[in-house]
Structures are given as C-alpha cells and as structure tokens.
Symmetry: C2
Subunit: 239 residues, 2 copies
C-alpha cells in the first residue's frame, strides 16, 4: 500500500507525528502537499478536503486506498498495527491511543503558549499574554505532562525503556518528537529539569539512533524546527 500524507509544507507541526511513524516503519508514502506537479501541492490538498464526503477539519490527513482519515491520533491509531508500531490487541491499541490523545492535548497547550488569544493574530500581537501563559505552562503543565509520560515508561515493567510493550511504537516516536521540540522551544527549562526526565531522555536518544529514524532525520525530508510550527523558540518567553 502506498500511503499519501497531506500536510502543510514548511512546518513539522502535527503532521510530523505521522511522518515519523511512516519513516520509522520504512513505509511507502508520498508527502503530497510538498510535491510539485499535477494533483500535488497545497491546492490539491485543499481541494481534496473540500470534495471529500468525510471531510477533514484540518490537515494532517492520510489517504489509504479509498479511506481519507484525519486527526493525527486517529491516523496513528489506524497506521499503528499496519506498520508494526502498535500492539495488535484491542486493549493494547486503546492504551497506545489513550497516550497519543494525551500527546494531542499537550501539543495544543504547547501551541497556545505562543498563541493564547487567537491563532489568527501574529505572535507579537499577543506577546504579554504569551508571556503569562508560558510562565504557567512551564511551572505547571510541562511538569505534569512529562511527569506523566515518565511514569508511564516506569510502570511499563520489563519494557526496556519503551512506553508500551517491549518494542518501538508510535508513542515512542511521539515522545522523541515532544522531547526534541521542547528542547528547541524551551532549552533553559528543559536543561534545568533534565534530572526528572531520565527515562524520556534515554528514549529520545534511543529513537534518534534507530536506523530508519536516523536516516530520515539526516535527510531533506525532515523539515527543521522553525518559528511557524508548534514548537517555537522565542527566548523572551522563557525569561
């Protein structure tokens, strides 16, 4: 099966969680909105959204045969067992999905640190509010979420450092992306709190060393972090 991923070109954003799964599994896929030519690019993506009977609310979405599936966690829930990146049992899949939905909530809160008032405003039009929201985020929310994921790894006894079971899953890949993104956005806070996240740090390093992931990260297919995505480095927010 050749999968088609549709997401905004130029940012990692929410699409990156799907891209990491496809890459880690060595799946055959097209990153449609980043390709030139007929039936490709952003226009094709927007057209498919409008025309779909089962319309996505927003990118990312995946075309798999006749299916068009949106919502990052839903895409991973579908792909997980097919790519060998999730348990096959219903209980295992529900648990993986539950964790991924908590990643979704966390990502939304990370986004709102720089856009607490409106996504349609520029960052510098909501700077004082972004400072306030970030202060509470770093003091309360970031420790709560990362502490939760750290504990999930700890409770997965015999899991060799994985969040679920004993091998790589899409949740591990999402942990890598969270840690990488948070270090980019909030280097001082992440460095200061490093001792609390030993298991997440080890998992990040281990995912990064996976052959497929390493090859992906070194390629042009990996878009760099930048100030248009979810994880943005605005030093003034960390003061």
């Amino acid at each position: 099966m050749r999968y088609e991923l549709f997401y905004w070109p130029g940012i990692q954003g929410r699409g990156e969680f799907v891209r990491l799964a496809l890459e880690a599994a060595g799946a055959d896929y097209l990153d449609v909105a980043r390709l030139p030519g007929r039936g490709k690019g952003v226009d094709a993506m927007l057209r498919l959204m409008d025309e779909s009977d089962r319309e996505p609310f927003a990118p990312p979405f995946l075309r798999a045969g006749k299916l068009v599936i949106a919502q990052t966690a839903n895409i991973l829930h579908y792909l997980g067992p097919r790519l060998g990146l999730a348990p096959k049992s219903e209980a295992g899949r529900l648990w993986a999905h539950q964790l991924q939905l908590t990643v979704t909530d966390f990502v939304s809160e990370i986004h709102d640190t720089h856009h607490p008032i409106a996504s349609s405003l520029y960052y510098d039009q909501q700077l004082p509010e972004a400072r306030d929201r970030t202060r509470y985020f770093l003091a309360e929310r970031l420790p709560k979420y990362l502490g939760y994921f750290e504990r999930a790894i700890e409770k997965n006894a015999g899991g060799r450092g994985h969040v679920i079971g004993r091998k790589l899953s899409y949740v591990d890949l999402s942990m890598f992306q969270l840690m990488a993104g948070l270090r980019y956005a909030f280097p001082k806070s992440m460095s200061r709190r490093k001792r609390y996240y030993g298991r997440l740090t080890a998992l990040h390093d281990r995912v990064m060393a996976d052959a497929n992931v390493a090859s992906y990260l070194a390629s042009q297919r990996r878009i760099g972090f930048n100030e248009d995505g979810v994880f943005r480095h605005y030093p003034e927010l960390e003061q």
Copy 2:
C-alpha cells in the same frame, strides 16, 4: 456488562459526552465518583488513577471489566459499537472517531475562552484575556467548527439529519451537548447565528426528544450547566 464511569461530581464537563452515550443506550452503569460508600466517591477515583498500570492522565475514565480506558473520545470509540451508537465497520468507526476528536478540539477551545492563561487561576484573574479570546472565538472559531459539523450532516446524504449513517450515534449525542452548552454559554451569539445552523438545531431537538435521553435529562442524574464546567455563562464575555 456493568460499566463504571469515573468523573468529577458537580459538573457535566467532558464526562457528559460519555454519560449521554450510556444513558441513550440504556446501559447498566455506575457513576462512581458521585456515589457514597466504600470504594466510591472522588477518593476512590483518584486512588484508581494512581494505582492503574495504564494510568489515566485525567478523568473521565471508564472501567469495563479489566479495562480502564481514558480520554473521552477513546471511551466513546470503545463504547460506540458495543452500545449500538456507532458503525461497526472500521471505516465507519474511524469517521465517527474523527468527528469526535474534532469535538474534543472544540471543547478545549470553548474551555479556554474563560481560562486563556491558566487553568489554575480563577476566571476573574484572567478576565481581560478571556474577553479577548472570546471575541476571536465567537467571530472565527465557533463559526468554523459549527459550519463544519453542519456541512457533515449535509454531506451525509440520505442520513435523515444524522451526522453518520441513518440512526442515532454518539456523535449525534455530542452535537446535542455542544448546541445545548453553547446556547447556555453564549445565548446572544447562538441566537444571532441560528439561521446558519438549521441542521444542528434540528438534530439537537431530535436527540432531546429521544425517549431515553428525555428521561435522563429530566432526572437527577443530569447535572445542570454551571460556572464550574466547560460551558459557562459569563454575560460580560459576550458583549
């Protein structure tokens, strides 16, 4: 199967989307944190969270036999086919779930209208920011989400006004709850925009007339809307 729902007593909140599904299906369930006695109440809920190997990040969560499942949309994804409130095919379940995850995003944005800076602060400690966020929410986000759901009903040709297929699903129940909650929180805006949401209004009325739902809404089991939940009526935010 007797299901056990765990959620904060005193508010509808996110738990209400699950409660509506259990009630509409006439399922056998306990609302554990609202019950007195041994092994019941909020303490029992918090203890179960801590002790679970597959720890919920937050309520609501559901116990079904040996399974403990958290994240509202994940619970509904599990319950849907079992309660006859979702398609049984994988494609149908993915579509229902995709819509429910968009409800989740919307609910989070509704919550943040009154808490744009921090959940740990009181509303009146972030009033100016709440006014700003609400202004953009009502002008941009509310029309975008409700327009999307209205279109989903429209695109479901032959669906007799349902969002999915031709009969009641948990997504219909969530549409009811959204419309009821938004009318409570933002009566002026919802009244002003009523003509754009004819299908959602008809669906709301139809769900409310369902025998099981009507009986539930008239019972003590339905907690009223109040200013501790997701949908809050603060008239000053609508000015």
